[in-house]
């Protein structure tokens, strides 16, 4: 049980940003490892600055460290300079809290927010000194677990992981701890690894790939079935029913060095039922569960006091939808502390004037830029993707932003969407130019930046059947936007590299055979694939070719109704029929309303799980069409049941967690 610090310390003056590796944050735990305690190493497969703010990781870190039978520490991907020095000296992956070697932990758990980090997972497992392939690990090696949004199609990672956790971790980590604690006390004998995996497979929400057989017919997956009778046929995601019972993080981590979101974050709700069809996050986190406004206020006040931050970000998938938003915002802003009033940032702005009013209320000082995401250039295409923002919504929002002092707007768009024609693509610039001309009425400096990303269809969404656009087609579309923008004054264009979009597509709907591709890319040196300076599509294409896999089959091919998806045995709670129906509706250009304020259309998540939306108000929040295009004037008359006290929480776990 020794710290690697004395071996790392002499290296740190020689690497970039050494503060990445020292820990010592406000809010960091000083975990006491010991007999009978399950040691979790919570790993984020990207650099510290990107990983530290991750809320999921911070929440689990705290919950685990509150348990008497668990400890948790954190690890982030060492940057290439330190990795090189570590490998030269045989220094393994370490935790930043006590600088322990990864092999002193029982569980190595990765939070995966996107697919391009997969090669970093392999790299970190290897740097830790463990075999990257799960079937070669021995009882003394930790269990490798993945969670996070990308874990909803874990098949490309199936060969490398021991388990994937679907959905929210608050409760399930306790159940996993219980099983692993027993394994540990039984001495982790030879052969016991598969026994413990078998037990883990029985925990709801835990998927153990090695317990399932995949059957192929040529390229096609035809079946994924449990190898043992006590292993479930369908693994369904975990959902915490009442966010109010999980007031975490209580001790938010405030780093000593600058990170990407350098402010306090308070999560105001989970889930989103606006139903944007391209949005995996929205689909897999349903239903909506709001945190009580009072608790939000407490978390803000205490968090600011504890960390010394003077900025708080209210996070969710669409923060202006939070029932208590106005009351929360007005209660924080005019509350000056010793060093000036805190500022509030609202990520994920909804596109309407109400939201801009809110943003104006919280913005202090310079109004640099506001970001909106209309996602598609024409109303027609927006009905296809169910992002029901009218032109009036957008122009109203923009008008109100320019008139409240903002001079720069950023508009996010996707290209390569289902049914997209060149009219839709060029419509992106028409919208942006419309915004510029509104802006010119207010300021000469008015400018609009359009940011275009290539669309990658994701598992568990209505667009999972859609064939992604290839690189040439995305390049052509981006070219159309750039050309149109060159004629429109005040419109700048930024775009995401279509090559990276293709690689993401390979992994996002890949099956187990893609694992070998990921391993090849990693062995060829392809780490940090989310960083453009390290990304090289040829590595991916070479690896696909070497494995005899077709890019078209995995990425650009349209799937039909009979497709057996690689995630066929995994469920985000959404009915297959609902998704298929929604895909058909998309093609028919039919929008679908938000079920928070209109009757349920039975997508499956609530009904299947005995859940309901928890919203503080049965009345839709004020302001326009809310970017939904629906008529909400009678919103309050739609009966919504407010759930009294959820009963789904496993109270054993909760009390143990708080003990």
């Amino acid at each position: 049980m020794s710290s690697l610090w004395s071996r790392l310390e002499p290296l740190l003056a020689r690497v970039r940003k050494p503060a990445r590796y020292i820990g010592c944050e406000d809010g960091a735990a000083s975990p006491q490892h010991g007999h009978g305690k399950v040691a979790w190493l919570l790993a984020y497969p990207d650099v510290y600055e990107v990983g530290l703010p991750n809320q999921g990781l911070q929440i689990l870190y705290e919950i685990l460290n509150e348990r008497p039978d668990a400890v948790a520490e954190r690890s982030y991907a060492p940057w290439v300079d330190l990795e090189k020095l570590m490998r030269e000296r045989g220094i393994p992956l370490f935790s930043v809290d006590t600088h322990r070697s990864a092999d002193e932990f029982d569980i190595l758990a990765f939070n995966l927010s996107a697919e391009l980090v997969y090669t970093n997972v392999l790299n970190m497992v290897d740097l830790a000194g463990f075999p990257v392939r799960a079937d070669q690990r021995r009882p003394e090696h930790p269990l490798v677990i993945i969670g996070g949004h990308a874990a909803f199609n874990p098949e490309p990672m199936a060969d490398f992981i021991d388990c994937a956790v679907l959905g929210e971790g608050e409760e399930v980590i306790g159940e996993i701890t219980d099983v692993v604690r027993e394994w540990k006390s039984s001495g982790r004998t030879e052969g016991s690894r598969s026994a413990v995996l078998r037990r883990l497979a029985q925990i709801p929400g835990v998927y153990v790939p090695s317990m399932y057989d995949v059957e192929y017919d040529g390229d096609r997956v035809v079946g994924i079935t449990p190898a043992y009778p006590d292993v479930p046929e369908l693994v369904t995601k975990r959902t915490v029913s009442d966010l109010g019972q999980w007031q975490y993080p209580k001790r938010p981590l405030a780093p000593l060095t600058e990170v990407v979101h350098d402010r306090l974050a308070v999560e105001v709700f989970r889930g989103c039922t606006r139903g944007c069809r391209f949005c995996q996050a929205g689909m897999i986190t349903r239903p909506v569960r709001e945190r009580p406004a009072e608790q939000v206020r407490t978390m803000i006040t205490e968090g600011l006091k504890r960390t010394g931050y003077n900025e708080v970000s209210l996070t969710s998938l669409s923060t202006a939808d939070f029932s208590g938003i106005e009351s929360v915002v007005t209660s924080i802003v005019p509350d000056p502390t010793a060093c000036g009033a805190p500022t509030v940032s609202l990520p994920s702005l909804r596109v309407d004037a109400f939201t801009v009013g809110l943003a104006a209320k919280v913005a202090s000082g310079r109004r640099s830029g506001l970001t909106f995401a209309p996602e598609a250039g024409t109303w027609r295409l927006r009905t296809v993707i169910n992002k029901l923002i009218t032109e009036d919504d957008l122009y109203g929002a923009v008008e109100s932003a320019f008139s409240s002092g903002w001079s720069r707007m950023k508009l996010y768009f996707l290209t390569g969407l289902p049914t997209e024609t060149d009219v839709d693509t060029e419509g992106i610039v028409d919208l942006a130019a419309g915004c510029v001309s509104i802006g010119k009425k207010h300021t000469n400096r008015a400018s609009v930046t359009v940011s275009v990303g290539g669309f990658v269809p994701k598992a568990h969404t209505p667009f999972q059947w859609f064939g992604q656009n290839g690189v040439p087609e995305l390049r052509r579309k981006i070219g159309l936007v750039r050309e149109a923008a060159s004629k429109a004054k005040g419109v700048q264009v930024k775009w995401h590299d279509p090559a990276a979009t293709l690689a993401e597509g390979i992994a996002s709907r890949g099956d187990r055979r893609v694992g070998a591709v990921i391993e090849r890319v990693w062995r060829a040196g392809g780490t940090f694939q989310e960083w453009s300076e390290f990304f090289d599509l040829d590595r991916w294409l070479d690896a696909m070719a070497a494995e005899g896999l077709s890019v078209d089959w995995y990425v650009t091919r349209h799937r039909d109704e009979n497709e057996v998806f690689p995630w066929h045995h995994l469920s985000a709670g959404l009915h297959h029929d609902f998704l298929w129906q929604d895909w058909r509706s998309a093609l028919a250009e039919a929008g679908l309303e938000d079920c928070r304020w209109t009757p349920c259309y039975d997508c499956g998540v609530c009904t299947g799980d005995g859940l309901e939306h928890i919203v503080a108000s049965p009345v839709a929040p004020a302001g326009g069409s809310q970017g939904t295009g629906q008529n909400l004037t009678f919103g309050g008359s739609v009966p919504i049941t407010l759930r009294p006290k959820p009963s789904l929480v496993n109270h054993d776990v909760v009390s143990a967690g708080r003990g």
Binding site: P10, C24, D26, T307, G308, Y309, T337, C339
Partner: protein, 244 residues
């Protein structure tokens, strides 16, 4: 009311940079609920001014910071206590005094700093003797992205080897850990100044300084008054244990 604070930076936290330290102080002052004056303008900031930047990786007993307070504070002792409670492990206040509104900024006022360095290389003491006897010492160095060749001899105001026993200022951490020869150097900060790493390059020609400089600690910062060098705020030994 303006106060001049000196503080130590020891242990792991030495790997944070100058900008990081500024952010740490902002958060610390808010946590300690110190009534700091705010600048006016679009983005109001806490009114504070830092002394000379400490290289990332170097430790110090005497980092300096001027803070303008919105309200007068009589009890500086309790202010120090609150700051110490709010500072991260490895940082602690080592001195405080009120300073006049018209005092020159720290950046301009400090003329020399004294460093203790642990250097792991062959014949360091021989090289020190040679360097002390030399009339010119040329090093290649970078300033503002431009490489240049300078004679740094006149900026080396004092240079000698020391032992751990003779320096009661050394933090406990150093006693067991630092490998190499201990030297004490007083270097000018005027003009382009001299960095500890540049002295190491002069002592171990052609080296990668951080491969030999195992530890470096700033123990003093001096200003000039009536032709004499005097301490900005007298350094006292760090009183807190810092985690290794």
């Amino acid at each position: 009311m303006k106060v001049r604070v000196s503080y130590s930076k020891l242990g792991k936290i030495r790997f944070t940079g100058h900008r990081d330290v500024a952010r740490i102080w902002e958060r610390t002052l808010r946590k300690a609920e110190v009534p700091v004056a705010m600048s006016t303008g679009f983005t109001p900031r806490l009114k504070m001014a830092f002394g000379l930047a400490l290289p990332t990786g170097a430790e110090s007993l005497v980092e300096l910071l001027d803070v303008t307070l919105a309200d007068d504070v009589d009890d500086l002792e309790s202010l120090v206590r609150r700051l110490d409670e709010s500072l991260p492990v490895g940082m602690a206040v080592t001195g405080i005094r009120e300073c006049g509104p018209s005092e020159v900024s720290l950046q301009e006022d400090v003329v020399a700093t004294t460093w203790v360095m642990a250097i792991d290389a062959a014949d360091v003491s021989g090289n020190i003797d040679r360097l002390n006897a030399a009339c010119e010492v040329w090093v290649d160095r970078e300033r503002k992205g431009e490489s240049r060749r300078d004679d740094i001899r006149s900026g080396i105001l004092g240079l000698r080897t020391i032992s751990t026993e003779t320096s009661e200022l050394l933090p406990p951490l150093w006693l067991g850990e630092s490998s190499g020869v201990l030297i004490e150097a007083t270097l000018t900060t005027a003009g382009r100044g001299i960095r500890p790493t540049e002295l190491v390059e002069a002592l171990v020609p052609g080296c990668e300084p951080w491969n030999h400089l195992t530890r470096v600690l700033r123990i003093n910062q001096m200003i000039e008054r009536d032709g004499e060098h005097v301490d900005v705020l007298s350094a006292r030994p760090a009183h807190t244990e810092v985690g290794a």
